[in-house]
């Protein structure tokens, strides 16, 4: 009995050290194995980048952390995914609550066809929070965090679709921040944007690192090297290498990693 206890003390302290953990994770879509035995520990308040060629499974793996894959037919999953030490695929987990803790920003900016205010307040409204003053204050602070407040404060009732692409994406990030998550997942957040908007959002990600844990999937190697602390290289559903970004881009261990980042394949 005492041996079991001491095991779990070590394990639980490891679990507390890492914000997100994956252990021997496998994913199938029907017969197709999309993720093959991936294990990974992600620390809090760091930016972790997932890189790899198209179809290598990095988006699929990202979506495991907020259970967005649940909506795909034939989705099956094996292994453990823990957040703050708790298994998020446990039967007792409330998925809606999970998604308030783990926010997601998508590749193509997808604001709701509503006003700017309605967009940012949405996450709070569906929790039942109605107090007008509270909502206004949250909306303002979220828009300030993404440096959008000054641009839109005069007309929060304007349709979100009237904003430019870069502004829309920042709005989507503000929307996510409004519910105060601790983790933000980003699936190629700047691939649909022009270079200036991209730069603004990368700056934003860098600022957000202090308060949030960020995981970002990106096709753009320079982006990964610019903004991430750690980088994970995926290929055909497997995790090939996962290390400090600096190491990966100056002297990676695996030849496959070197071939990919120097553009010799993929």
């Amino acid at each position: 009995m005492s041996e079991e206890n001491s095991e779990s003390i070590i394990e639980s302290s490891i679990k507390r050290k890492y914000k997100l953990q994956a252990k021997d994770v496998k994913v199938w879509y029907g017969d197709f194995m999309a993720i093959n035995n991936v294990s990974m520990d992600i620390k809090a308040n760091k930016v972790t980048a997932f890189i790899g060629p198209s179809g290598c499974g990095k988006s699929t793996f990202l979506r495991l952390f907020n259970r967005m894959n649940d909506y795909v037919d034939d989705f099956k999953m094996g292994g453990d995914i823990n957040i703050d030490g708790k298994d998020i695929y446990d039967k007792n987990i409330n998925v809606e609550l999970l998604r308030k803790q783990v926010g997601m920003v998508f590749q193509k900016p997808n604001p709701f066809p509503k006003s700017i205010f309605e967009n940012v307040a949405y996450g709070l409204k569906i929790q039942g929070l109605k107090d007008k003053a509270f909502l206004e204050e949250r909306v303002e602070s979220s828009l300030k965090q993404v440096a959008l407040w000054d641009e839109v404060k005069n007309d929060l009732n304007k349709s979100a679709l009237a904003l430019s692409g870069g502004q829309q994406q920042r709005l989507c990030i503000a929307r996510t921040l409004a519910v105060e998550p601790s983790i933000i997942l980003m699936d190629e957040p700047t691939s649909a944007l022009d270079p200036i908007s991209t730069a603004k959002i990368e700056e934003l990600i860098y600022k957000l690192k202090d308060k949030y844990t960020i995981v970002i999937v990106t096709h753009n190697m320079q982006q990964a090297s610019r903004i991430s602390d750690n980088t994970a290289f995926f290929y055909l559903g497997e995790l090939i290498e996962y290390d400090k970004t600096n190491k990966i881009f100056t002297n990676p261990e695996k030849k496959q990693t070197e071939n990919y980042i120097t553009g010799r394949f993929g």
């Binding site: 990966i248 100056t250 002297n251 070197e258 980042i261 120097t262 553009g263």
Partner: protein, 227 residues
């Protein structure tokens, strides 16, 4: 627009060309010095333009490579090392030039026995073999060869250290030839510097191939098997 592999190969070849150029300069200046051949020395002076031109070209190409291809990992280490190697090779060329201009300035040949006492031939031989080692190391990507030069450099250092005593002795014997002896002193210093530059190049090659930084560290010779 060149693709990365082709561009890298061009850089590689240019680096090799620089190696060949500088090596020839060094050999010519050595021969000119040991046989006091002012015509050969003139050739060295004349070719300095080519060395400088190659230096500029290589510098430009490295800059272009970095700007266009945004290299990382092995490619990045290669171009960073090549820039430094280029810089060091150009300095070696400069020293060959300097030695050759001395030969032209100082007209009378040096006595053979003084040359022998100073172990000039030995020094030159060691330096040349180091140059060959390092060129081979660059050409074939062989870090073992690169490591050989650290030990050989010690020979140059030793000869350099001894030279002070020998020359001071000779000057006292025949003070009228002080100009000559001062010239010899400078040439020895230059060859010792060439040895240092070659070890620098060795460090750069090892950095490029193994991502190991040897700068400012105590150097070992080639590693023994089984280590």
């Amino acid at each position: 627009m060149l693709n990365l592999e082709d561009h890298r190969e061009i850089l590689n070849q240019s680096g090799l060309e620089m190696f060949q150029l500088v090596r020839k300069q060094f050999i010519k200046s050595k021969d000119a010095f040991l046989t006091h051949d002012s015509d050969l020395a003139e050739e060295v002076l004349h070719n300095e333009n080519r060395v400088n031109g190659m230096d500029l070209k290589l510098d430009r190409e490295c800059e272009r490579f970095i700007a266009l291809h945004n290299p990382v990992a092995g490619d990045l280490r290669f171009v960073l090392a090549l820039r430094k190697i280029n810089f060091d090779l150009e300095r070696i060329g400069d020293h060959a030039y300097g030695i050759s201009s001395y030969i032209i300035e100082v007209d009378t040949p040096v006595k053979q026995e003084v040359l022998d006492k100073l172990e000039f031939e030995k020094m030159y031989k060691a330096a040349l073999s180091m140059l060959d080692d390092i060129r081979d190391a660059y050409k074939t990507g062989n870090t073992k060869k690169a490591r050989k030069v650290f030990k050989k450099d010690k020979v140059l250092n030793k000869i350099n250290l001894n030279s002070f005593a020998v020359i001071s002795e000779e000057v006292q014997k025949d003070p009228k030839l002080i100009d000559q002896y001062l010239l010899l002193f400078s040439v020895i210093k230059k060859i010792e510097r060439v040895g240092d530059l070659i070890t620098n190049i060795g460090e750069e090659i090892i950095f490029y191939l193994e991502a190991e930084v040897l700068k400012h560290r105590k150097k070992k010779g080639p590693s023994k098997p089984g280590m």
